[in-house]
Amino acid sequence: MNVETFKYDNRIVRAFAIATVVWGIVGMLVGLLAAVQLFFPDANLNLQFITFGRIRPLHTNAVIFAFVGNGMFMGIYYSLQRLCKARMFSDFISWFHFWGWQSIIVSAALTLPLGFTTSKEYAELEWPIKIAIAVVWVAFTVNLIGTILKRREKHMYVAIWFYLATALTVAVLHVTNSMTMPAGWFKSYSMYAGVQDALVQWWYGHNAVAFFLTTPYLGLMYYFLPKAANRPVFSYRLSIIHFWGLIFLYIWAGPHHLLYTALPDWAQSLGMVFSLMLIAPSWGGMLNGLLTLRGVWDKVRQDPVLKFMVVAVTAYGMATLEGPVMAIKTVNSLSHYTDWTIAHAHSGALGWNGFLTFSMLYFLYPRLYKTQLWSTKLANYHFWIGLLGIMFYIIPIYVAGITEGLMWKQFNKDGFLQYPNFLETIVQIVPMLRLRAIGGTLYLVGVFMMAYNLYRTAKAGEFEPDTEVQAAPLEKTVSSGAHGKLSWHRMLEGKPMIFTVLAVVAILIGGIVEIIPMYLVKENVPTIASVHPYTPLEVLGRDVYIREGCLGCHSQMIRPFRSETERYGEYSKAGEFVYDHPFLWGSERKGPDLAREGGRYPDAWHYNHMDDPRSTSPGSIMPRYPWLLTQKMEMDSLPWRLSALRRIGVPYPAGYENGPAQKDLQAQAEKIVANLKLGSVNAEPDKDIVALIAYLQRLGTDIKNAPVTTAAK
């Protein structure tokens, strides 16, 4: 038989492994800093660059795209070569992918603290970086498909299906959600507005969780778990159902992030129903993983790799049961905007992604360095301290979330809100926030232990840059089945391109069913005659709000519950957001909702509150923003901003940005300065704070000040 000798590329696997550990530590450190600021706001050292609003997106991006992203590539580059019995398609593309991805991470680490953000969660990076992501992602996809095409194994193992679905779906999601109009090198406005923007964003956001944090890791589970247990997967049939069921259903579930918002009810119901259906394939996958260990549970006691895997798969099962439960509208009415969501996200991130990544690292290092793990004992300590860290992280936050949800909704016997001051509900959960930071610290200590253990393992062994192997080349014609007849499914997975097209069709069905009505929604959002575009000063103020990441803690979406309308005012209507590029509904409340903030307090109150929140609201956990009082607003870029907004549909008159806008801005700023003087505050009209006050005082006033008229189509 003709046998070919070839080499697996281990260098690229090692590079991604090192990047995984380094960025994991960075991302978690930033997360810890953010967590500490939630109960000790001065931990930002009064630096705008490391204040909560700016580092929260840095933390999420670093953990998702840097830690899990590099972990995913590490696992894929290792397993794909072995499952295809082929070296990666192109070494050049592999390294282009590696350095391209690291450059994107570095640029994120620089731009997010500088306040360059689109504000759309998990898609905060500005447009030049978005383009770079698209280019690097295409390189990865070409390398993936190229390797599959030159494989020496006739069949594509199910793990490769998950990798393919990841590559293609992330590309579709990224491009659709990145449609922005640049207004300078590091400023852009989402092409979509309000309700439409919210639906696209959460279609993306939810599926970023699905296709960046879940499907690639499921593929890795299907490779590394049988490998580590030295047992075949429990049921290959179940893995096929798991794959197709998951990718078909997941894409529909995005609207569950927007329950009870101004999003049309039909979209909300669609999101809820599909979320519930997702339990079936998710649990099928979890059981398939755990049952693979039948008969070898004794190994789990000894092998830290398997220990980490068991907890990872269990966490996957728990998170994928909890997610659908939270997508039930009645449960969501309690859980949304609270820390419950944060606990849910972290049971997935710390348990599923974190622990599976650690297990892969412990599995790969001894193999890459042809040695044994330096210390099994230390790995076991890492396991227990990490598990303890997860518990200390999520349990207090579950308690905090449910406490917040219940306190927000509590009425006294006279029918008034029991806790009318939002601050009371935050003060109540501060002890839980402290405990959460302890949990995060424990988890991070475990990661340091692992880093040291892996370093010592590498020192003790000898790195094998290429693994030489032999395999027979793939015959040109796919051989027929046992009875001479080729079954269609085997033909399908024998032809990766057809398989790829079908997988894309499966994910597009859900996407299209949601996106086509989304355009209809745009046509049918009831227009409110009194809703006008933001003034130039308000546009700059809104951009300050975006830059400082205010939506990390403040929502702008009052849900139609009595507990919310009593606290904040009239519930939010879809028509109020038609000029909101991007939408700023937020997903978490560490401070009160701001949808009807306009006119609630005098201008001077906002000035003092921004200078020192505790001077106006004792006990507040909001950071100070003294730099807003001294930094000049970005007047120079105003023409770019207004013309960009006009190009995407905001009806500013032609030429408005060249003179009239500046005049209007000046007049409004002078008015605010005069108001501030009434409150014994001397401010200059060209400072950021003036623009921000203008924006905050505008919020929700359109329908507050005018009768609502809806124009039905």
Binding site: E153, H155, H489
Partner: protein
């Protein structure tokens, strides 16, 4: 509002039927597919990750108990 949106689509009645058909066909098809799979094919696929083609180069160095 959702009624307006949905009823505004021409021939909207067919949407629900199509949705159910897509779901039903999709899952029935997947089920039939996996049921029809041959045992030897499944065995081959299950064993793919365990393929020991590189045993000589690295696996002998693996810790037996970690």
């Amino acid at each position: 509002m959702e009624q307006k949106v949905i009823c505004g689509i021409e021939g909207v009645g067919i949407y629900g039927v199509i949705s159910i058909l897509i779901c039903f066909t999709f899952f029935t098809g997947t089920f039939l597919w996996v049921v029809s799979l041959k045992k030897n094919y499944l065995k081959h696929m299950e064993d793919l990750p365990l393929d020991g083609s590189e045993k000589n180069s690295t696996d002998k160095n693996q810790p037996t108990t970690l």
